[in-house]
Symmetry: C2
Subunit: 320 residues, 2 copies
C-alpha cells in the first residue's frame, strides 16, 4: 500500500479533524475512539482513485470518501453488538468499552454524520450521492440480516451466499467507486462500470477472504486461520461442500465435528481439497475478478488507471 | 382531532402502502408491525398543515411528512431498547416481540428509508430537506443521550432540562413545520418562523406532559398518572424543585421517598403546589406557548392559518 501513503494520510487527517460535537461526551467519545482505531480505509481510497481517473483532486473527493468510511464505521459498531464481538482491530469494541446503549446511539448518530458529509456537494451531485448511499445502506442492512439468518438456516445455497456477501460487503465497494464518478460529474455509463468494477471486486475479495481463513498462512493473512471451520461458519467453502459433496464425504465431515479443533481444521481442509470444493471456489473467485476487470476496461477516462488497478490487485491477490 | 380526519387517513394510507421490501422478513416484518401500531401522527400532520398555508396539496407534502413519521418511528424502536420498555401503544415493543438485534437493525434500516423518502423532491428541495433532517436527527440523538445521562446525574439544572427536551422532542416538531415551508418553496424567513413555531410549541408540549403526568386526571390524560414521581424522573417539576426548594422542603421530599407509592405521589404533588413549583412550571409552559405564537403570527402566507392554530391549541391546551 506504499504507493497510496499520501492519500491514506490525507484520509486519516481528514477523519481526525472531523468536526464532531464535543457534547454529549457519552455520545461522541465512542465515535472519536472508534474512528481513531484505524482500519485499511479501502473504501475512501477507492473513491479518491476513481475520481482521479477524471482528474478530480482529493479536496473535492475527500468529503464523499469520508462519508463512506464513516458509514462503514457505523455498520461495524452495530455489527459488533449483534455479533457479540469483544474486540475490533485489537481494541475493545464500543459496546465492550462503554455499553450496548451507548453503542446503539453512537452508531445511529455516526450514520447521520455520514449522510451529512455529502452536503459539501452542489444540489444535483448531492442528490445523486445521497440516493446511491441510501440504496446501498439499505442493502448493507439486508446483507447483515441475511448473514444473521444463515446462523439458524441449515441449508444455505451458493446463490444465497453470494447474494449475502454482495449485499453485506460488495455494494459498498461498488458505491465507493461510483462516488468517484458522480463527484467527477461523468455520465451514467462510466458510473455504472465503476460500480460494477467495485461490486464484483468486493465479491471476489470476500470469496478470497473465506479461502484464506481456511488455507492462508497465519503470518501472511495477519490473523489466526481456521476460525470459520471451528465455528461451522457458512462460508462459500461450507455451502459449496454441503451442496456438492457425496454422502460419504458428508459423513466424514460430520465425524470431524466431534474431534479436536486442530484435527478438525486439518481434516476439513483435506476434504475441501479432495472433493474439489477449494478448486471450485478459487475458480469462482477468478470469475468475479474477471467480471470486475471487464467493467474496469470499459471505463473511458482521460487519466491513467494503473493506480486503481494496483489497488484491485492488492485486494484480490492476497497471498496464501 | 376530528377536523383532521381526512388528512390523518391520507397519512395512514400512505404509510400502509409504503413499498418496504418483502425480504428479509426478519428485517421488514418488525417495521411493518411497528408502523401499523399507529400513533397520533402529529409530525406529518404539522408538515401537511404548514404546507397548506402556501396552497401546497397533500400529494406534494405527503412524502416529506411520511419521512418524518418514519424517522420518529425509528427513534422509538431504538429508544425502547435503551429504555428497556416492554410495551409501546399497548403492544409489545420490537425488541420484546423479536429480539434486540432485530430491533437494532430494523431501526437502522427504517432510518435510511426515512431519508430515502425525500428523493421524491427536486434536487434543490431535496438538499434543503435532507440538510435539515440530518441536523435534526443528530440533535434528537443528542437529546436522547442527555436524557439517559440525567439518570445518573444528581444535579440537572432547568436550563439543561429545557435543552434536553428541546433536542429530544422539539426540534423534530420545528423540522416538521419547516418541511412544509421548504416543500412550498417559500423563503428563509417564513421557514424560520415555521421552525420557531414548532420548536417552541414542542417545548411547551413537553412541559405540559410533565405537569399532566403528575397533576392530570388519568381518564383525561389517557394513562396512569404519577409514574414520573414514583420513578424520581427528572422532569421540569423535579429539577425546578431541586433548584428552588428550601432545606425544609427538600427534607420533606426525601422523607417521601420512603413511603408507599400513593402517599408519595400525594405528598410530592402537595409539595410542588405549596412551594410554587407547579405555578412556576405552568408559567414556563405559557411562556413557550407565547413564544410559539409570536412566530406563528409572523408567518406571511396566502391561505388561512386557523387549522394549524387549532392543532397547536390541541397540543398545548390538553385538559388536566
Amino acid at each position: 500500500m506504499k504507493e497510496y501513503t499520501q492519500r491514506l494520510e490525507a484520509i486519516e487527517n481528514y477523519l481526525l479533524q472531523w468536526d464532531f460535537p464535543l457534547q454529549p461526551t457519552t455520545l461522541y467519545d465512542p465515535i472519536r475512539y472508534f474512528v481513531r482505531i484505524g482500519g485499511k480505509r479501502i473504501r475512501p481510497l477507492f473513491t479518491i482513485l476513481s475520481a482521479e481517473l477524471f482528474g478530480v483532486s482529493m479536496n473535492q473527493s475527500l468529503p464523499g470518501a469520508a462519508a463512506l468510511e464513516l458509514f462503514h464505521n457505523f455498520t461495524l459498531i452495530h455489527d459488533d453488538i449483534m455479533d457479540n464481538a469483544p474486540v475490533r482491530r485489537g481494541k475493545p469494541t464500543v459496546h465492550e468499552q462503554w455499553n450496548t446503549n451507548v453503542a446503539i446511539l453512537s452508531g445511529d448518530v455516526l450514520m447521520i454524520h455520514a449522510f451529512q458529509a455529502l452536503a459539501h456537494y452542489d444540489a444535483a451531485t448531492f442528490k445523486k450521492l445521497s440516493t446511491l448511499l441510501n440504496k446501498t445502506a439499505i442493502e448493507v442492512c439486508m446483507g447483515q440480516q441475511m448473514d444473521m439468518d444463515f446462523e439458524t438456516n441449515a441449508h444455505v445455497t451458493e446463490a444465497e451466499y453470494i447474494e449475502m456477501i454482495r449485499l453485506k460487503t460488495s455494494v459498498l465497494l461498488g458505491c465507493s467507486c461510483a462516488f468517484g464518478g458522480f463527484i467527477a460529474g461523468v455520465n451514467g455509463i462510466e458510473v455504472d462500470h465503476l460500480y460494477g468494477f467495485g461490486e464484483n471486486l468486493g465479491i471476489a475479495f470476500q470469496i478470497q477472504d473465506d479461502i484464506l481463513d481456511a488455507f492462508g498462512e497465519a503470518e501472511k493473512v495477519g490473523k489466526q486461520t481456521g476460525g470459520d471451520i471451528i465455528n461451522d461458519k457458512k462460508t462459500i467453502l461450507y455451502t459449496t461442500f454441503q451442496t456438492t459433496a457425496s454422502t460419504e464425504e458428508k459423513k466424514r465431515f460430520s465425524e470431524l465435528s466431534l474431534v479436536k479443533n486442530e484435527e478438525k481444521i486439518k481434516g476439513i481442509k483435506a476434504l475441501y481439497q479432495q472433493s474439489g470444493v477449494l478448486a471450485y471456489c478459487q475458480q469462482k473467485q477468478a470469475e468475479y475478478t474477471a467480471k470486475a476487470m471487464r467493467h474496469f476496461e470499459e471505463i473511458q477516462c482521460p487519466y491513467e488507471k494503473s493506480q486503481l488497478l494496483s489497488l484491485a490487485e492488492f485486494i484480490t491477490k492476497r497471498a496464501y
